[in-house]
């Protein structure tokens, strides 16, 4: 077996079973590129990284199945060789990011409002629950309503409901043409313009505002992109990939401004600014906003809730999520117990006592 194709299911299941039997908490690890997306986890390290390899890929089926430790880059390369891609455009944050970590964190990039989120592309998973049982949910087909949709539930649960071992994804054909337009425009007028444009049948695939300029990406057939670009107008951006990569990977200069970073997930046409002064970078056509400013977390959470969304604070290398209502949190705890009765899988990663 080659270095990039290893099935460690049994060894990993043994480890989780033993941890379950002796009540040892586990801290799940893939490429370890995203500790800042959650809270710190106390526990024995369980690495899934060596459990890797593409299990199944047939371009005409638009489905790919790979083990959790498979590097995201390997998947991008394979898909690109067949003119396909992951339309949810996940960020990786470092070259050693794995598929398992990406799906566990439910990460989606700039194309998200137009093509869908990571969870929209997850078709099936194999996972180890907190008892060390190997469970398989979903399948390798696009339409499937047999049983509860556990594969989508565990996407973004950051390993608290199970250790992902294998993931089946819907993939998509790479749009043949793409172009990015930019223009100088204020934030508020950009938000209004984005709301207008997104209601029109245009081949939009990303929309961002960096505080000074509006950036619009079009993807589709060549004629379709050209016609839309002529309709919308604006300057053509010379190196669009570098720009969208900087927004996706959070390497845009905005992210280096001093102070804690907030992620605001709000309805895209929200015009009200967050309380207190600060600077904003818009992605997802306005539905995901990065904010650098100082405010009491409770004030930000209250504001985000009143807008119909939620907010997360990234500070000192960790993340604090919007607190949940008591009824909803109680349901989270019951579900956690259903998957991980002893609370050994990444406990505390999302919330204290979960």
């Amino acid at each position: 077996m080659s270095q990039s194709d290893r099935d460690l299911t049994e060894a990993l299941a043994d480890e989780v079973r033993q941890a379950h039997d002796s009540g040892i908490r586990l801290s799940l690890a893939g490429g370890e590129t995203k500790p800042f997306l959650g809270r710190s986890v106390e526990g024995k390290r369980l690495s899934v990284r060596e459990h890797c390899g593409i299990v199944h890929y047939e371009p005409t089926e638009l489905v790919l199945t790979a083990r959790a430790g498979t590097p995201l880059g390997e998947i991008h390369d394979l898909l690109a060789a067949h003119g396909q891609w992951l339309p949810f455009e996940p960020p990786s944050f470092a070259s050693c990011a794995t598929l398992g970590g990406t799906i566990a964190c439910g990460l989606s990039g700039p194309a998200r409002p137009f093509f869908g989120a990571a969870r929209d592309f997850v078709l099936g998973v194999r996972l180890l629950d907190g008892r060390g049982q190997l469970l398989h949910f979903g399948a390798e087909v696009i339409k499937n309503v047999a049983g509860y949709d556990v594969a989508r539930l565990v996407t973004g649960a950051q390993g608290t409901l199970g250790a992902l071992l294998e993931i089946s994804l819907k993939v998509g054909p790479l749009p043949p043409a793409s172009e990015t337009l930019t223009r100088e425009e204020g934030l508020e007028s950009s938000i209004r313009r984005l709301a207008e444009l997104a209601a029109k049948p245009l081949p939009l695939s990303a929309a961002s505002h960096d505080g000074e300029r509006l950036f619009l990406r079009l993807s589709g057939t060549e004629a379709g992109v050209r016609a839309a670009a002529n309709r919308i107008g604006g300057e053509r951006l010379a190196d669009p990939d570098a720009f969208w990569q900087s927004v996706r990977e959070r390497t845009h200069p905005f992210f280096s401004l001093p102070g804690p970073l907030w992620r605001l997930s709000v309805p895209p046409a929200t015009l009200a600014p967050p309380p207190g002064g600060g600077r904003l970078l818009l992605d997802w056509s306005g539905a995901q906003r990065w904010w650098k400013g100082s405010a009491e977390p409770t004030a930000l959470w209250e504001w985000a809730r009143s807008m119909g969304g939620h907010a997360a604070l990234f500070d000192s290398g960790r993340c604090r999520l919007q607190p949940l209502d008591p009824g909803l949190f109680a349901l989270h705890k019951r579900l956690k117990a259903a998957f991980d009765p002893k609370g050994i899988l990444n406990s505390g990663r999302l919330y204290d006592s979960l």
Partner: protein, 509 residues
């Protein structure tokens, strides 16, 4: 021969028997009295002739009379109903328009049917954020009509879109002809307000594109009314494409049509819809609506492209070239909206058209990997001959979702049972070919036995734990969607007894 799903549904109802025992401590009259006094002014039907319209959903072969039907019109009334039922441990079966095809809204004898039909208000339409906030009894069509002045529409279009309601769509994760491009219900709903069986109001999802914590919205969509009652939904609206054109392509063999599907998909765009019909379905449809389909074709592909005109023209050119290269001997491209609708009419009338060929038909639903299509159709033809029942096939070819229509005559002894049994074999075939037992109709009561083939005991047990986390008393739509483990054990024993466990070589998941 496998027993009828209804018979086994009733037989396998261990959990429900427990509830039955609890609610038996109360007489039906006492239950009705408590319900009526809890919700004065809200209709609670209990006369036999009032109950009759509710005795089945779209899966009409299965009927059951509930104890009563409650038709509330406010969230507070639903809460009062749930409080009474929870206290009495009385099964509650939520129902939308009753168009479901797997018996998800089949009543329980002695249980309450909760009709959400009076929740028909569109509460808010937000053209800037492109969302609609609606009550669960609003139809898909009504949302699209309300959104039309803004150039927007609600995408999921199951064949019952004129009648089916959003609450039922959420319960079943409904799809439709255009879900290849626009996604299923789970991709088009942003938030739901639900009532737990204890009458607690929870919001899953948000008006934003995601929410904090677990993705409970994704778990809830498609949960067939077992996890909560939807009382409000916020759905995503999309810009209506200015142009749609349809190509009809005829093939001399199913294999070449199936190969064409794979090649089309590999060409860098996803058609808005990609449908296939086999010869029996083509003939039935053509004789019924005269859409202009070539009656001699072994298979017909319907490929629709939509979007801005420049994009559509380019995609149509690509698709036509590909279809010709794959051996299509007949191509027709719609040149007007009228022509497009006529060409669609044949496909959309496939079910009623089949209904003219036999007194009854049984519509199956399963998904297979596309590559397995020729084998699936060959094997279905063999099963059809074995059971002596004709099967017409319509197929959402783009996403591998197969809808065999089994033609039968319920007035002939045993024929319904044979049709069901043949249906069960087709579901098993889908699993064997690497697919699943249901792509969009749901499990309901219809496919409980097939769930035992799709999943192992460990996954089924996990489904029951999820149900317990939402509904510890097990009062919401009990006994549907997920079979009890002892039922699967009995079924397995039966299969072994017959000497052949289906597909011993494949992994069970």
């Amino acid at each position: 021969m496998t027993p009828s799903p209804l018979a086994s549904f009733l037989r396998g109802g261990g959990a429900q028997e427990a509830h039955g025992a609890a609610s038996r401590s109360c007489s039906p009259q006492e239950i009705l009295r408590r319900l009526r006094s809890a919700i004065p002014g809200c209709p609670v039907l209990s006369e036999p002739e009032e109950l009759r319209p509710y005795e089945c959903d779209g899966l009409t072969a299965y009927r059951e009379t509930p104890l009563a039907v409650a038709i509330p019109e406010s969230i507070a009334q639903v809460q009062e109903i749930l409080r009474v039922c929870c206290a009495l441990r009385l099964p509650v079966i939520p129902r939308g328009a009753g168009t479901g095809l797997s018996g998800g809204a089949l009543p329980r004898s002695g249980g309450l049917l909760l009709s959400m039909a009076r929740f028909r208000k569109i509460l808010a339409l937000d053209p800037l954020n492109r969302t609609a906030r609606v009550e669960p009894g609003v139809t898909n069509r009504a949302i699209s009509e309300a959104a039309a002045p803004h150039g927007l529409f609600y995408a999921p279009d199951p064949s019952s879109e004129v009648a089916c309601t959003i609450g039922g769509n959420i319960a079943e994760n409904a799809g439709g002809l255009h879900c290849l491009k626009y996604g299923l219900t789970v991709h088009n709903v942003l938030a739901v307000k639900i009532l737990t069986p204890e009458a607690e109001l929870l919001t899953l999802g948000a008006e934003a594109l995601d929410s904090a914590g677990f993705d409970l919205l994704a778990l809830f969509v498609g949960s067939e009314g077992l996890l909560g009652v939807v009382v409000e939904a916020t759905v995503r609206l999309l810009p209506r494409p200015p142009l749609a054109r349809l190509i009809v392509a005829a093939f001399a063999s199913v294999d070449s049509a199936a190969a064409a599907v794979g090649k089309l998909i590999g060409r860098g765009f996803v058609p808005a819809a990609l449908e296939m019909m086999d010869n029996l379905a083509i003939r039935a449809a053509e004789e019924f609506v005269h859409a202009g389909y070539p009656m001699d074709a072994a298979a017909l592909l319907l490929c629709e492209c939509d979007g801005p005109p420049e994009e559509v023209d380019e995609q149509i050119a690509l698709a036509e070239e590909q279809l010709r290269e794959s051996g299509a001997y007949f191509l027709r491209l719609s040149c007007s909206e009228e022509e497009r609708l006529l060409l669609w009419k044949g496909r959309k009338s496939a079910f009623p058209a089949a209904g003219r060929m036999a007194p009854d038909y049984y519509c199956m639903d399963g998904t297979i990997p596309r590559r397995a299509l020729p084998e699936a159709l060959r094997r279905i033809a063999r099963l059809s001959a074995e059971y002596g029942l004709p099967v017409a096939n319509v197929f959402h070819a783009g996403d591998g979702n197969l809808h065999p229509l089994i033609l039968y005559d319920a007035s002939r002894p045993d024929e319904l049972k044979r049709a069901e049994s043949l249906g069960g074999r087709i579901s098993e075939l889908c699993v064997e070919l690497g697919g699943v037992i249901t792509g969009e109709h749901g499990v309901g009561v219809e496919k409980l036995d097939q769930m035992c083939i799709q999943f192992r005991a460990a996954e089924l047990a996990q489904f029951h734990r999820i149900k317990d986390a939402f509904d510890p008393e097990g009062i919401l739509n009990p006994g549907k969607a997920v079979p009890l483990l002892h039922r699967c054990a009995e079924l397995g024993a039966m299969h072994v007894h017959r000497g052949t466990l289906p597909f011993p070589g494949i992994e069970r998941f």
